[in-house]
């Protein structure tokens, strides 16, 4: 079948046009896309073409939609779903520990046509049914929220004081995951220089601060957890510098510059550096959290763009990041 899609050519030209999709086979599902979120990794691909294994590519791995056809009957037509964005190889030693540890982990959109399209086809096991009362434009946050929940789950216990460096959508969702059930907390601070993003952080109850302010804190007031959700050159070193002795640095940003760290500092201050990629079993948990309290997460979505306007808007985003999550509507 044909669907209308956003197409990225090998020369990184972006356009809309028809996309031929395979007919879903038993074990697969055809989903009509309602909304697809733009991830920072999508922008990286638009800039570089990295990670793509077919051309022209249709990106988009944060997807909510409605089941149109499921030959094997695993899901009923009309069911609203979010999709599991991971495409593990299924045969490596990493996969034995969990899909997100796959040694050749790929993602929907990069390995197969994704959600910046009217429809997509994927394994039925990769679609998570949503409660009927969860609105699609909130449900689309399930994938990045699962990423945030997984990251927080990698750290032992909720910290008394935390700092989040970077308040893009993942930083914001890590903040909301950290403070779930606690209400606004003066002990979660955010370092974010972009005004629109720092305003969102303040609106969502964080204390907006800067590196120097945190660095000037006495040892007893230093954060036990510093989350690097920024990924700028030096962000990991900044996170290490700000963390309390015995504390944890949580790396969720995909920085592409080598980090300059002093091993002695990590040893002498007994710091833990924890990485986190994707999610393990947190997608249903994320769906449940969004259904429980959609208003808590709604402000993270700041913009919604029709598919036909997406090529122009995505090009703008490459130059000037958005203040929050941008959604695309096919």
């Amino acid at each position: 079948m044909k669907t209308h899609a956003l197409l990225l050519d090998r020369d990184l030209t972006l356009r809309t046009g028809p996309l031929e999709l395979p007919e879903p086979q038993p074990g697969e599902v055809l989903v009509r896309v309602e909304w697809a979120g733009v991830c920072g990794s999508d922008l990286h691909v638009l800039r570089t073409g990295d990670w793509v294994s077919y051309w022209p590519a249709t990106l988009g791995h944060e997807v909510t939609g409605t089941v149109e056809h499921c030959p094997g009957g695993e899901l009923l037509p009309g069911t609203m779903v979010v999709i599991d964005s991971r495409v593990p190889c299924g045969s490596c030693a990493g996969c034995a520990a969990g899909p997100n540890r796959c040694e050749r982990l790929a993602w929907v959109g990069e390995a197969q046509p994704g959600g910046f399209a009217g429809h997509l086809v994927l394994p039925a096991s990769g679609a998570v049914a949503c409660p009927a009362n969860l609105e699609p434009a909130v449900a689309v946050l399930a994938e990045p929220l699962a990423v945030a929940l997984h990251a927080i789950g990698r750290v032992a216990g909720p910290p008394e004081r935390a700092v989040i460096i970077g308040y893009g959508p993942i930083g914001a969702l890590v903040h909301l995951a950290l403070t779930a059930g606690r209400g606004p907390s003066p002990d979660v601070c955010v370092i974010e220089p972009a005004p629109a993003r720092s305003e969102l952080a303040a609106a969502l109850g964080a204390v907006v601060t800067d590196f120097d302010n945190v660095a000037a804190l006495p040892a007893a007031r230093r954060p036990q957890l510093v989350v690097d959700a920024a990924g700028y050159p030096g962000s990991l070193a900044d996170a290490v510098a700000l963390t309390a002795t015995g504390g944890t640095v949580l790396a969720v940003a995909l920085g592409h510059e080598k980090a300059q760290l002093l091993p002695a500092e990590i040893a002498e201050r007994e710091l833990t550096i924890t990485g986190s990629i994707g999610f393990a079993g947190e997608l249903p948990q994320a769906v449940a959290a969004l259904a429980r309290d959609p208003d808590r997460y709604r402000p993270v979505v700041t913009e919604a763009v029709p598919l036909e306007d997406a090529p122009g808007r995505l090009r703008e985003l490459l130059a000037a990041p958005s203040s929050g999550k941008v959604l695309i509507r096919p």
């Binding site: 609105e135 434009a137 109850g205 208003d295 402000p299 979505v301 919604a304 029709p306 959604l327």
Partner: protein, 370 residues
């Protein structure tokens, strides 16, 4: 259906000029598709939610307004004695009408008015003088003329249902023209969404005009529509008079806690207002591009000349509902509340599709023919 008793028949006769209030209807889908009641798409601030949750355990006691009045007074730059809390700003309409209107007294409204202003006036058996709007805006000269000999002038700015706002200089001039024995009720329910140039200095106006009452609500930018909280800003003498007529404890303890929590919710409210203004601008641009008549709005809605019967079904198919203008005195129009970005994008897509199908051209030709 059984026949009405004489009691009900008499009551109906007495209320024959008073239309029943019809609330905005929800869309067929999620709550955020309800673009018919000018509600906030984001709900209350985290600090307000936390304060309300904490207050739930204290509802065994009568509410104490002291701190809540102080919060609102500090925001407005007036003393707490200038604040009267009410159970939604509509309670204030009824309160003002019961105190200042009576049979034979005159109340002035724009036409179409904010419906509750007209209803409260008519319930008080006052004579209602309607001054037609001009291009959706108040005819201040006409209203000032009508105010001579009147007891009350109702002046919503931004106005509901059109969204137009009175420029502060024009408001100051208007207040100078209204006789001192005529009360001016400036309803600022939508003030927060107006551009700063349309936000008058209320403290200064109150100091200069003892016959001014400013009406505010926490239903809009505070997103507390379901809690029912409003308030008056007025000279302390006026507040004292109104307080005598108000039922005691008409604002509940949870609502008061929400106000107190709002003291630290400025960033949330600023975000809400900024997003509404952004989406309002996008909708206005789209309506202009499609050649649809609309009033330049300073509120969290836009009234547009669109046939509800034409746009209702495709909007419903996208999970959206808007308010038919006929409910609000604007037949042939709709009032579109400004919602969350995804809903507004869906709404603009519906308008584009109708335009591409030629339906909007047909509607405009039909309106011109009439």
């Amino acid at each position: 259906m059984t026949a009405a008793t004489p009691l009900v028949t008499a009551a109906r006769a007495r209320l024959r000029d008073i239309p029943a209030y019809r609330p905005g209807r929800p869309g067929p889908g999620p709550a955020s598709g309800k673009l018919s009641s000018n509600e906030s798409p984001f709900g209350p601030a985290p600090a307000v939610r936390a304060a309300m949750a904490a207050a739930a355990g204290a509802v065994g006691h009568y509410p104490d307004e002291y701190r809540a009045r102080a919060v609102l007074a500090a925001r407005a730059g007036v003393p707490p004695s200038s604040i009267l809390l009410t159970n939604g700003s509509d309670e204030l309409c009824y309160l003002l009408a019961s105190v200042f209107l009576a049979p034979g007294r005159v109340a002035v409204v724009g036409d179409p008015p904010y419906q509750i202003d007209a209803t409260a006036s008519l319930l008080a058996r006052a004579t209602l003088v309607r001054v037609p709007l001009r291009d959706g805006a108040h005819d201040l000269a006409g209203m000032a003329a009508a105010a001579r000999g009147a007891a009350v002038v109702w002046l919503p700015s931004p106005h509901n249902p059109t969204g137009t706002a009175v420029p502060p200089a024009d408001l100051a001039a208007f207040l100078r023209q209204v006789p001192a024995d005529c009360l001016v009720v400036l309803d600022e329910a939508y003030r927060a969404f107006a551009d700063p140039a349309y936000q008058p200095d209320i403290a200064a106006l109150l100091a200069a005009h003892p016959n001014l009452v400013v009406q505010r609500t926490l239903s809009k930018d505070w997103a507390l529509a379901g809690l029912r909280v409003g308030y008056a800003l007025a000279a302390p003498e006026l507040v004292e008079v109104l307080a005598r007529a108000r039922p005691p404890f008409s604002v509940n303890a949870v609502a008061l806690a929400a106000i107190e929590g709002g003291a630290s919710a400025g960033a949330w409210q600023a975000m809400t207002v900024a997003r509404v203004r952004e989406q309002r601008s996008l909708l206005a641009n789209e309506l202009g591009r499609l050649g649809v008549d609309f009033f330049a709005s300073q509120a969290n809605f836009i009234a547009a000349r669109l046939d509800p019967a034409l746009i209702g079904p495709p909007l419903a198919a996208s999970g959206l509902a808007v308010r038919p203008g006929a409910d609000l005195g604007l037949p042939g129009w709709v009032r579109i509340s400004i919602g969350w970005a995804p809903q507004m994008t869906a709404l603009r897509a519906v308008l584009r599709e109708l335009s591409q199908a030629g339906a909007l051209d047909h509607q405009q030709a039909e309106q011109a023919r009439r």
